[in-house]
Symmetry: D2
Subunit: 397 residues, 4 copies
Amino acid sequence: MKIWVFGLYGIVSTTAMTGAKAIEKGKAPKTGLVTELPEFSEEINKTIPFKFKFGGHEIRQLDKNGYEATLYHWNLNRHFDREFLDAVKDDLSEIRAKKGTALNCGSAMEDLGEIDYLEKNEKLTLSDIVDAIEKDIKEFADEDTVAVNVASTEPVIKYDKQYHDRLNDFEKLIKENKKELITASSLYAYVALKNGIPYINFTPSSGASLPALKELAEKNKVPHAGNDGKTGETLAKTTIVPMFKYRNLKVLGWMGYNILGDLDGVVLNHADNKESKIISKDGVLEKILGYSPFTITEINYFPSLQDNKTAFDFIHYEGFMGRKMKFYFIWDGIDAILAAPLVIDLARFILYAKKKGESGVVKELAFFFKSPMDTDVYNTHEQYQLLVEWFNRLKEK
Amino acid sequence: MKIWVFGLYGIVSTTAMTGAKAIEKGKAPKTGLVTELPEFSEEINKTIPFKFKFGGHEIRQLDKNGYEATLYHWNLNRHFDREFLDAVKDDLSEIRAKKGTALNCGSAMEDLGEIDYLEKNEKLTLSDIVDAIEKDIKEFADEDTVAVNVASTEPVIKYDKQYHDRLNDFEKLIKENKKELITASSLYAYVALKNGIPYINFTPSSGASLPALKELAEKNKVPHAGNDGKTGETLAKTTIVPMFKYRNLKVLGWMGYNILGDLDGVVLNHADNKESKIISKDGVLEKILGYSPFTITEINYFPSLQDNKTAFDFIHYEGFMGRKMKFYFIWDGIDAILAAPLVIDLARFILYAKKKGESGVVKELAFFFKSPMDTDVYNTHEQYQLLVEWFNRLKEK
Amino acid sequence: MKIWVFGLYGIVSTTAMTGAKAIEKGKAPKTGLVTELPEFSEEINKTIPFKFKFGGHEIRQLDKNGYEATLYHWNLNRHFDREFLDAVKDDLSEIRAKKGTALNCGSAMEDLGEIDYLEKNEKLTLSDIVDAIEKDIKEFADEDTVAVNVASTEPVIKYDKQYHDRLNDFEKLIKENKKELITASSLYAYVALKNGIPYINFTPSSGASLPALKELAEKNKVPHAGNDGKTGETLAKTTIVPMFKYRNLKVLGWMGYNILGDLDGVVLNHADNKESKIISKDGVLEKILGYSPFTITEINYFPSLQDNKTAFDFIHYEGFMGRKMKFYFIWDGIDAILAAPLVIDLARFILYAKKKGESGVVKELAFFFKSPMDTDVYNTHEQYQLLVEWFNRLKEK
Amino acid sequence: MKIWVFGLYGIVSTTAMTGAKAIEKGKAPKTGLVTELPEFSEEINKTIPFKFKFGGHEIRQLDKNGYEATLYHWNLNRHFDREFLDAVKDDLSEIRAKKGTALNCGSAMEDLGEIDYLEKNEKLTLSDIVDAIEKDIKEFADEDTVAVNVASTEPVIKYDKQYHDRLNDFEKLIKENKKELITASSLYAYVALKNGIPYINFTPSSGASLPALKELAEKNKVPHAGNDGKTGETLAKTTIVPMFKYRNLKVLGWMGYNILGDLDGVVLNHADNKESKIISKDGVLEKILGYSPFTITEINYFPSLQDNKTAFDFIHYEGFMGRKMKFYFIWDGIDAILAAPLVIDLARFILYAKKKGESGVVKELAFFFKSPMDTDVYNTHEQYQLLVEWFNRLKEK
């Protein structure tokens, strides 16, 4: 299958490409891949063989090829054994990102070093940008192609009922060149869905969440899913909090501190880009517990950690006769290592969904997201069960 | 309903009694009670009103009444607000334990201060002991009575096919007065089941696990459940380990250190009594993961903590491309506060089972146990779901 | 000896009074008292017997006596065994706070419930307020009296060279009634030093730090010390960071999250009151290490914890060949229990200093403070050594 | 200078060699080297330039050269950046270990794979072994040579007054070929001291601790120091415990769990080899606190960690009015990375001592050891101060 990545040269994308190709060559284990669990493995490999071709849009490092860009991240992070990179050097070297868009991606972009993007050419209208993106994707895509957004988190854009609610109005927005009303991720999602390409939003950016784009997906019968890959502290949180609920232990407060040092951290340190990240963390506890305990959730930039994400959570809870007790956990993970296999899993699952005739929001993929679309199921265990049941249903088709 | 407790004056039992009566009087919140969750509350309260009468066997503090014994534990542990104890002083003062048995309860018993038990009178045969226990229980019990074992962990007794496998042989064992082949918990279980009283084994001791006693339960159509209340580190472990499984993250090693300072700790520090505790922890990971990672599980006595149980767990796991990562958690809980509400929950659920005609091992109560009987479901979430489904099934009856 | 406390009915003060009187009566152990270590005990008890009389200013709970105010805190926090409070009920009941000042104490004061203070009477000038405070203190004080500030943290007041730099100008400020240029803590310090009463600033507020007040202390030959009692995370930090320095391990980053739920937390949650707390934490690492690693230091309000202060620190450091490693600690303490004995220690040490003829800033008391005055010694170990040497020097006098 | 290493190809030794040579070439930073702190750097570099030549004895991997042996450890542990190893390949390739002795080194040696040692030739007497060792060392050594023991921990050998107490008797032991009464480390120490070569015992093995060998050092005017490099949990413990002491906070209990997965872990998992490690941990708290709190100290083998040593410590302590509080820390370090620079530091310091005419036990090097010889100073801070003062004294000479 083919995967078109928005944010192709980022650390998540380059890690996914290295791992996918290394596994393909039998050089790396399949650890971390949900699709390779016994529940899915046979059927998924029969339908979608483990063989990938990558392309995508980027706004940085456009002078580099996929190998050089991966090496750049590896030198900073040493996040996997060098052997894997060496083994796939030729495959990655063939990959070359196309120039993308950074429309309304926030002040943080300026801190990421030299960047280039379509709208730097101020003469380009929204229609021109859409056309340019579409041309790149069409050249790459075949029947078995999906698109995944792993670009940096965008600032939240104000919802505008006039243009965001219905497909007609959204296309008017493009025609009228209302650049201030749309972000890069939604433009990308628009092009993908317009061309019948299943779309995954792995970030908290708006992507395909606008009602107008959901309408487009329904109309074109394209499946899509999001938002925001659940890879670290939220994964642990949504796994653990049900324990308190099942036992009728009252959560008095939950404090979660996240620190990380990669570009994601740089971006999140910008107030405007941070907002959408915070929102996607909000409400998780309430959704599972049915009430809102006092919470602190912070994400801080901590440069020396690079891509090593550390989270510290403290849970204060009340038991029998109102007695207060404590629970702490420390999550010490490598963000890209946790995220990358999910990109591959989601690409395969959404393509599988397409092959089985699914369209619109695939809410049964909630298991992979911090802010799953169109569902209130946030409990990791229930999400996993839904995923298995959904997969089994499709298999029967 | 009435609850007959083996180990009536222990900290778990006295905490359960204080809480139950304080809640009955509207003085304490219902936090920690599973039966008071929306899934069960209405039906359970309709069938089994929140109103309890307690009695039981004991081998220590036989000169004290229930209030004095509770005060003894409270002074050492301050494990709940004194107000609750004051509010139920009269109720607890009326409770008086009967002298029980400590048969083959291990060397640790000697460290627990002055103790007294039936077989101190060496003339008493097993039949005499059984008769004495039976007489006490019969005087107390009515139709709505259950028995719960919360006495200290016994050493593991060697399984003897000749006497333990069939009910006939077991009763021969009693008649032949083979004292060395039977422990207190199984004698208690025998009397309860013989008299049609549902039985809960909240400890890792053998209790009703012997095939002969399971046969008795089937024969008399009595429901029972066990073993070993899941209150702390194992609860957290069986909640968290599924996360690694669902995500195909390979657990390389799991280290779990438990320290506690109460009588349970004293008892467990004795090699012979420790054995059964260790065994009930074993296998949990394998049951959930399907493979056996390297594990260290220790329980150590740490006197200054009293009943404050602290566990530290470290999980080493492997993700994408074999990269190793880490997860730590600290459980800082009060053992009796976590255990006591489960005693009340189990008493109500097992009585409910009886009222609905269930008999034999109720494996759907696995949610409450470290070593659930007759089931391989160790994942807390699956256990909870089974519990809800079972309850709904009975409700329909 | 006698101790006049600014913030008499706060939790630190009431805990100190309860403990001091309980120890006096032989009901409580002397744990936590530095003055009772072998290095100091004999000499200090010979010079300043363990016998205390308390009085002070307050702006809340003025209708209560010392016992009632202590009970209020105890009911919320259960921070010590009730027996101690019962044992000193009569002593505390005799204590009655005088109405104090809350001048420029910030917006947080409004959240602390009903308060009353001298300047509520808007006719009162600064001179009137000073006179009122002075009258209260003079009625109480004898030769062996010291004053301690444990009132809530004030907002930082802008340094005004014209009025804060020299004693003459400061007294002009009072005469000219420049209310906007002075906070309560400095007014209190002024009155204490003016009357020859040694003064301890246990808070990060300005207190006696203004050059004008230091001049007054020198002039009147009164010893004083501050600022900001070092009780929790900073104590651990200044103990541990020297280890990295001695071993030439480079600290790459230090993240320190503090959460607490008492009034101090409420106050610190107000941006204006928080500022002085943050500043007194700043620079600690640089002072010890000689360079400034990346740091995050946060103090958050977490209501359910009450006075139970929890801190989580993560240290990222670099060793041989640049290899990065990690160190974590969790501080789970009771703020008032940690602070209260230091109030007693400081009162005794500063009185001892006076008896031995010391005056001005006693920088050798740095051991007790987060932001010690007039010294760069922040390493806890060096501070302790300085304290012992200083005490031995005075003893020889 | 030259360093002769007993255990030349172990992970500590190979890491020290790689780092030393990489620093020499300006390829690696000097982080982690105490001798490169401003307090020592100028004088030590003037006297003992940063330029090293390595040789030593080994019982494993004798078919490999220094580079190959280092690569073996690197492949398992990835404990430093590969670039450093590549930079010093030629230097390490020139190094070749001599066959050493494993006399009474315990059952664990058998688990370490193929080993070879002098006494495999059963005809060799102790005198023959001593001669062989001596020949190797003499060929290597010059005036500026020291010897360091970093071989695996040996079982404790029973102290035998008849042979271990006086030099004469010790030499008789050799002559009489009493192989069962002596371990490898003491034979090595004997040869070093006999030849005037300063000796460092970086392990808990007996080394030069026998009175007979101390006598030899005095007689030959050779300085030596030990025992057991203080690199991890004990370093943190001896840094932190003084905080409790200074503040008169009573330590009620201290639990320390250490896990590690390298050869050291394999060796320590053997009961006989473990004993000497446990003993060197014992008593640390009592030495600093003056009393013995309840302690648990465990070292467990945890294979997946390799050389990544993780320690979890829990401290339960009592404050004002007897209130109990908690402190936790987690040490997540790389053992060899922490130990290796100390080997270089100790080699330089002991050579400096020799140059300045010091002889016998240099107890001022206590800072580097878990069980410092001939001193009761265990507090890391006091040890550091002693080190600085001692160095300054020698500098004046």
